[in-house]
Symmetry: none
Subunit: 533 residues, 2 copies
């Protein structure tokens, strides 16, 4: 039996940008678009061209390779012709190949918010869609407040959908803008709409205000729609949008959907879903939701209790899908053998051959567990893990010792009476018993320490000339300024273009940063094959 194609429309960069506390930089947007493009969604909505300089810059160039790049904006304003509407002009003159118009489908809002007539609103939809089609764009229409509108004035809501479709819109998207519609209502109303616009031209845009955005999207699919709008990790205004990170595996793996539908997400991309979700949280610099369906760290975790022992007998009867299918992993009280085989595999990946019987492997496993319990996250810091492994299994040359450091931040009035903040770091390094002191200023304590550390490591100095620090991330593992701090540093060798991540954990942010900085320099020297003293 041939399966129907379901199209995934991502609005992380547009509706997701409405999330409280989320504010994407241009670099963030470019990174997110790449994540989504690699995942395999069909459409990536990038924002509103014309809304602000950042969105203008984002739409100045194509940002996708596989996905259709979409721009969001209003239908033409009442009282002006399409050709005289600057909003429409901006919307049709940028690198996006698709346009998604938002149009009111609730008579009340046409009246109150738009202050125009019902007829003018329909005319605006028609002319705007025709203009997009004439400009060679793929046109679609988000029918705002569609479900509330249908309840208030069914004929008018249907007229909006029919008008958009008749004017040539590829997709007519039914939006539950307030997020309050329930799955059974969605299914009933969508079925009604499908009598005037074919389901393969309909989309659903759901919000999570009753915790049912996923259920609402699936209900709409059952009733006939073939496009689903959503966001990564379900970010979005208020309670968020339909969570694509939850919908994608449900559509791909669950009976009733997997057998009836296909999406643009292949098994390989699906197996990368957990990593994609985590990478997105990294861009947002927020802790991942451990309880998120499919991709959460606890999604396949069983606490010691009535299930834990039984689960090992036959996991598949305790798991509705396999963790591997979404790139996640099972977490139960794993036997050291199980832990070991993961470790051996990881070491092999790093080119470190070790016998599974080697007792040093138990030592390494114990150290990793002990350190991860303290807040280290080695899956995010390959270089620090490799150093820990080499130190435990064989040895790492002893290049230099930082016998002491001092970092000072002072806020005071300078000579001309301005209040300034000065950061200075002093480090004492011993190489072959010879002690060198370096001092440096920076625009902050960590930067000063970084400068001072790399200023003079004697005979190794030349080896780190090409080492630059490209990213620095801080996460407070539990509230308060006294909490444990995790620092992740990404370094780049400008000569080989090789990148690596190092980690430090401490109650003291300077100390945590120091650990990660030292690991980065040491790793560089190891990779250079520099001989210790």
């Amino acid at each position: 039996m041939t399966r129907d194609r379901l199209y995934l429309y991502d609005t992380t960069l547009r509706d997701g940008a409405q999330t409280r506390g989320v504010d994407f930089s241009l670099e963030d947007k470019i990174l997110v678009a790449r994540l989504l493009d690699d995942l395999g969604v069909d459409y990536i909505e990038g924002g509103y061209p014309g809304a602000n300089p950042m969105d203008d810059a984002f739409f100045a160039a194509p940002r996708t390779q596989r996905a259709t790049f979409s721009a969001f904006g209003m239908t033409k304003r009442a009282g002006v012709s399409v050709s005289n509407d600057p909003g429409i002009a901006t919307l049709l003159s940028n690198a996006a190949t698709a346009v998604c118009y938002v149009a009111k489908a609730w008579d009340y809002h046409v009246d109150v918010a738009l202050k125009t007539t019902l007829e003018e609103n329909l005319e605006g939809i028609r002319l705007s869609v025709e203009a997009a089609v004439a400009a060679g764009k793929e046109a679609m229409v988000d029918c705002e407040h569609f479900f509330d509108g249908w309840k208030a004035n069914r004929d008018y809501a249907l007229a909006c959908a029919r008008t958009a479709h008749a004017a040539g819109a590829r997709w007519v998207v039914l939006c539950d803008t307030n997020g309050g519609t329930l799955p059974d209502e969605i299914e009933r109303i969508v079925a009604d709409v499908a009598t005037v616009v074919p389901g393969d031209r309909l989309g659903i845009h759901a919000h999570d205000d009753t915790g049912q955005a996923v259920a609402n999207s699936l209900a709409a699919v059952r009733a006939g729609v073939r496009q689903i709008q959503g966001t990564l990790n379900g970010i979005g205004e208020r309670c968020g949008n339909a969570n694509l990170t939850t919908l994608i595996p449900t559509l791909a793996l669950k009976p009733g959907y997997a057998d009836r539908f296909e999406t643009g997400i292949d098994a390989v991309a699906l197996a990368g879903l957990t990593a994609t979700s985590r990478a997105f949280d990294e861009i947002l610099n927020r802790a991942p939701d451990a309880h998120a369906p499919y991709v959460g760290a606890s999604a396949f975790a069983t606490k010691a209790g009535i299930h834990a022992s039984a689960i090992l007998k036959d996991p598949k009867t305790y798991e509705h899908v396999t963790p591997e299918s979404v790139g996640n992993r099972r977490r139960v009280l794993v036997s050291d053998q199980a832990g070991k085989s993961n470790l051996v595999a990881e070491l092999a990946r790093l080119g470190i051959a070790v016998d599974k019987a080697d007792p040093k492997l138990d030592t390494l496993l114990a150290r990793v567990k002990e350190r991860e319990a303290r807040g280290f996250a080695y899956e995010a810091a390959d270089a620090s893990f490799e150093l820990l492994a080499r130190r435990t299994l064989s040895s790492v040359p002893d290049y230099f010792d930082v016998t002491s450091y001092r970092v000072m931040v002072e806020r005071r009035f300078n000579a001309i009476g301005d209040l300034v903040t000065v950061s200075e770091a002093v480090v004492k390094v011993s190489i072959d018993g010879e002690v060198r002191m370096s001092v440096a200023e920076g625009n902050g304590p960590i930067n000063a320490l970084d400068q001072a550390l790399r200023k003079d490591i004697g005979k190794y100095q030349a080896e780190i000339e090409s080492l630059v620090l490209v990213d620095y991330k801080v996460r407070i593992l539990d509230g308060g300024t006294g909490a444990v701090t995790r620092v992740l540093i990404e370094s780049l060798d400008t000569r080989t273009n090789r990148r690596w991540m190092t980690i430090g954990v401490s109650e003291n942010i300077v100390d945590a940063s120091f650990q990660a900085l030292i690991d980065s320099i040491t790793y560089k020297l190891v990779k250079n094959g520099a001989a210790g003293r």
Copy 2:
């Protein structure tokens, strides 16, 4: 038309205790039981008597006034008589007036996990229920893996349900133990079960592994069940249980449910739901989920954009329920797209009346935009925004000046030769021209500065005694240790239980933290109505 009674069964203290990272103390359990009893749920499941000394102590006395207090445990073991089963004895001899037995309803698990015959399992259910009834307890049976069991062996799953009901169980609860069943399957399967056990004797126990625990519970209700099991804030194993905090308002307020059903939760308790949810997070000592349906801080928040100005015209058309009905509140977030009307509304909420024509408003708008362009995010820092607004529109008393500070982090060998890192801060504060110096150590530079700043602010000292710092977040706005750093600090007044967020932005993390700390202290003094010098 008379409405059907729906019974709410809370398992926060039993299944919720399976949540990774959740570990209730006896005091916690007593507090949570009181919260739930005040809320008005019908049943409170307290745990497993006999499982550990803490649960024994909890079940030693009645813990509820209105709700039925329920104990959870296994049906009788195979091969022993009920009277000789110590588990059953413990379960029937405690302060709980109801007993909830967990029984396997999937033939596969009876075989593999229980290692008994299908007949013995049915017999165990029958005898255990009869024993509970004979002991004067209200008996119910959680049919574990019911939905997977029904798919594997419908007749046996139904036999388990029928046996429990025939033996006198008040409730036969259908459990989606693996959480992978979808709403349409739930509805179909429950309808089938309702042909052998009346719906008003059936319950549903759903998990959130596909993000649909709420939808699954509601689907079961539509198919006839009249008891819903769930937890506060949806805590629970893996992805959590059905979230009662979401289900309760949906049942009480949404068409299709509010008109057909009634629960034990009255309008007053409903209006306390947000407070109940936050109080529970306090007990768990974790930050509330801002995006939670109904009760999240962002559940009724709109970011400036296409909706923000319209929402003020007529909120009810933008909100599926009123925030007040669940004790939450509306917010329009200030952000770089902020328009004047949003600003005026937000100011009004803060109790700052200002004429829309007031030119100072343009100044404030310009300042917000300028500062947000530099990395400030006022939508996340209400207190810092209020201070900025008051300073711009009127004035904020000038309490004290920090004329200078110095923070030092030193790593060195201590007297006994251990390598230690010491953080020390010195601040110079001027109050009424009188200069005070304070010095403090901390486990990191920010903590040291925080300690020193709050050590002595002269005549204001008494006013900040109840001020504690509960959360500290750092975001590096663009890569590298030299990048701009944004610090968000959450403070708590332990006397009023009031929380507020302040923000600081600088290339220097110490400076950014300093700004946020000063804002927090100043805000506290403003709220106290302290007079400046």
